[in-house]
Amino acid sequence: MKKALKIIGITLGSVVGVSLIAVCIVVWFVFTPAKLTPIVKSYIPAFVSCQTELDTVDLTFFSTFPHFGLRLHNVALINPMDGAPSDTVAYIGDLVTTVDVNEYLQNANVVINGVYIDNTVANIYVNADSVANYDVFISDTTAEDTTSSSMFNQLAIKDVKLTNVSAQYIDVPSKMNASISNINLNADVLMEGDSIATDMTITSDAIDFALTDSTQLTASVGDFEAHFSGGMGNYNDVKGTLKMALNTVSAKMGETQYLDSLKHITATVPMEVTLDSLKIGLKEALLGINEHQISLTGDAEIGDDIRMDMFFSTNDIRLNQLFTLIPDELLKEYLDGIDLNGVVQLSGNVRGIMNDTLMPLITADANYSEGTVVVDGLGHDLYDVAANAHVNIDLNEEKNSSVKLNSLSAKTGKSSVTATGEILDLMNKMIFDIRANARIWLLDLKNDMPEYIFATGWADAVLTAKCDMDALTNVDLNRIKANGTINLTDFDAVYEDSTLVNSEKMAIDFKLPTTYSQKEFKEVLDLNIKSGKLSVEMLDFFKTKLYDANIRLGLSDVMDTTKDVAMACDLNIKDIDYVMEADTISAAVRNTKGTLKMFPKGKNTGYVCMMNCDSVYAKVAEDVTARTGVININAKAEYDESIEDALLQWNPDVKLNFNQGQIALSAIEAPIKVSKIKCELDKKRFILDQSKVILGNSDFQLKGVIKNIADYINGEDILKGELEFTSDYTDVMELMDMVSGMGDTTEVATEEPVAANTADTTVVEEDNPFMVPLGVDIVMTTDIKKALVGKKIVEHVGGGLTIRDGVLVLEEMGFTCDAAQMQLTSIYRSARKNHLFAGLDFHLIDISIADLIDMIPDIDTIVPMLKSFSGKAEFHFAAETYLKSNYEPKFSTLRGAAAIKGKDLVVMDSETFDQISKLLLFNKKKTKNVIDSLDVEMTVFRNEVDLYPFVVSMDKYQAVLSGYHNLDMTYNYHISLTKSPLLFKLGLNIMGNLEDLKFRLAKCQYKKLYKPQKRGVVDEQILALKKTISSSLQAGVKNQDALMKD
């Protein structure tokens, strides 16, 4: 065995030895470089047109053992060109190729066991004329035999290695520079028939690229590695896996730095490529940028069109890591002031045809979670933001692009919001259809609200909204559809530090656009407000509380700055409590229902108020208290701020009804009961259709019309009015007592000595007397069935009250009572505040003197002796005076006249009569104290009352009385006893005051006055004056027949 082994060993050693010797002979002596190099050089011009250099060509064996190889050393292509960085287009230090000759000889297989290229440099240059320095290769014009199978069965390139390859590329027309250094390639290629299998790896230390055109793009890659393992069938079907890794990638365009922080890009791409159709199939191809990955599965076919059906899916991408890949400039442009964080995951599909006119359909599902959004100035950070959406992008029919928001949730402060919905026409109009639920702590929205609004409380909102982006960004309420409900809890709001709104619970339903329509304006927004208790307060002005309030508020387009806001408000409020001005005014309104409207009308503002309520209680300090039953008001107004007068400025058209009213005034003891009022007011007229009032013991109805209101205010016409005052019963004195002193400020006039002045200098507040309006012609006719005057009932009181151009006239007021038939005319005129005129013309027919004094007590002051008579009389009285502003008479202007006619009067016993009787020697016991007639005339001038002589005949006596007295009740009277049983005529002077009357016998002054045949001139004058007084007064009885009949 050993021997055999020895023989075999010796044999093999011999063979090897012989072979080596043979190889050495071949390498060193047969195929020497000196022989091979010229041969190779001789072939070079057939392939290359430029200058070439080749140092040596030698045959290798030992370095490429066990195969022979051919090595070219220092190969250079030299093509000088102006501007080129080098004359050398390419330089190869060493190029070694080994071929398995036996395999070719035995099996007709081409087996290249190795291709080794080392130390290679390429300088590619294209000059400005687009002439390239590498354009030196000569094309083979002979017919190419593509049937390689005829030459070999199999082509295998087992080991291809490129080491230390560098290249530089300069393209002047394209302004492109590129370089790659230290390229190393290691590849195995096996070609068998139509099949090629390869496994190759290529690396590089650095790749630089620059475009110096307007894009100013520069890019660099640090180390680069690519590996492909796969094969090709039929020279057409490529299948394999491409793996790439690029580290330290950066790019810069202009001044914008891209991919500055990109550590590495990876790709693992299992692929199937059909070359003839350029169809690429990927299966879970994985592309990675730093931590971010995207997986691709699908296929794409590149022909005239690109057809693709590619599914993609990313890993969870943290936005803060993703944003590091985005240049700061872009971040500032799109996310300035926004700190967005969270995790995003996308998966989807790109399917369809892409060419010049078509784009594939993109669908994707996006998940966003763990999100936080911090926006500078927003004032509240969003956290726990999450969203899930499905996106459809159709670039062919952009209106088909959409996003379906499966869910969205976010929180801020104490608030949270969730939403679902979709966005249609994503690429253009972006039509939102959103449904959202929110629970909002209003303080969280503090920075979203105007600074003059402060609100707290909870708002639970459910809303849906549909609109496009344009409508949303422009807040175009006409193109936004929205509705929802906001439930407010513990709601407090402050507006401009002056208006406070509070409600423990309040619900607001809104609808946009509204389903309501208004004839006055286009209603856009509908708000329904419901609150069990709603408080509104304006500091230092009013407080109001609404209970069980249902308020529907319709608004116009509040965002339209070209028009004033219009509103319509339908109210249904169970209770309204209202307090104003430090509790001085309060009101309570029950069951208020109705409509309020405010809307622009041309240049003006229109108002509508249609309201009714079951009752109103109002109180003004301690002065006024009012209660009403049902109130119904139907009002319109048009406000024109260019007009000064309030009535014309508002141009109202008001219809008011209310009943069961009761008003209590502190100045009037008795309550005012208004059982019904129905009236209308517009700028032309005021119509009082109905009014029934009970005031104390009196009742009355007032109705009529006031016309020409606007013309009167404009000074174009007088104010005209016709009113009817009807009453079943009127207590005149009670009414006068009630209104006496009303409006008279003299009660509060203060008189204070002024230190620097005399002691009697006073400071008196200005009075405010009633000023009869000018330019007014109002007539009020009265029809009072019964009136109580003093203690007397008068009936059928009829006449007219006229206000005409500054004069108030109570005109020929006629009435009857059991004591008399009467007529009264009075005038009040107000030329100026401190010069008022009051006049009275009063006629009483067939009145008891006692009743007369009872009815008009002031008569006793003017005719003090009248109370000495008893019986029926006829009384005519006229008086007038000017008044001061406090209604005190100006006595210098006092004028008056009275005429009293009586028959069959009885002289009453009195202390004064007793004294007179005693002095004039009356025998009272034997004298019947009845006088036949009495005819008295008197005048009042300033503060003096003149009693003109009048005769009194009583039984056997006749006396003439005359004299005067002052309004301070100092007397100077004279009695002439012109007929008596006495033989002489006596006179009696009565002087002094009521407490101290002096009776003095005197000469009889009127012996002849009532003896016509003996009268003197003076007597005639006296009687003429009496006639003048009497007849002038009686002339004032305009309708004596009617007066007497009534």
Partner: protein, 115 residues
């Protein structure tokens, strides 16, 4: 003689009557008169006016009257503004010159100077 004495007496009576009727010259009365704050104005047409500035009344607001002078009796007729009533006022003139007017009424004396 008796007839002569009777005739002289008759003439004296007539003259005295004439003197009484023309005791004062109406022309002297015409003008504006002032007594303290009280003013009266008489015009030749038989109209007049009175006002008292103490009551914040000036001439434009004066109350008017008509007047007649017979002997020493000056009668003012004050037609009331608000009714048909007339208030006569009889005054006894004591002095009437071109510059002075003195009259009495109800025991009071009023002294005016012409303005």
């Amino acid at each position: 003689m008796k007839k002569l004495i009777f005739s002289l007496c008759a003439i004296l009576l007539v003259l005295s009557g004439c003197d009484k009727k023309n005791k004062f010259d109406e022309a002297d009365l015409v003008g504006r008169w002032k007594s303290g704050t009280l003013w009266e104005k008489y015009s030749s047409s038989g109209t007049g006016a009175t006002w008292d500035t103490a009551d914040d009344i000036d001439e434009d607001e004066a109350q008017t009257f008509t007047w007649e002078l017979e002997g020493e009796i000056l009668t003012q007729y004050h037609q009331m503004e608000g009714s048909s009533g007339v208030v006569p006022r009889q005054i006894t003139i004591k002095t009437l010159t071109a510059s002075s007017l003195v009259y009495t009424k109800n025991g009071k004396t009023y002294t005016f100077t012409k303005q």
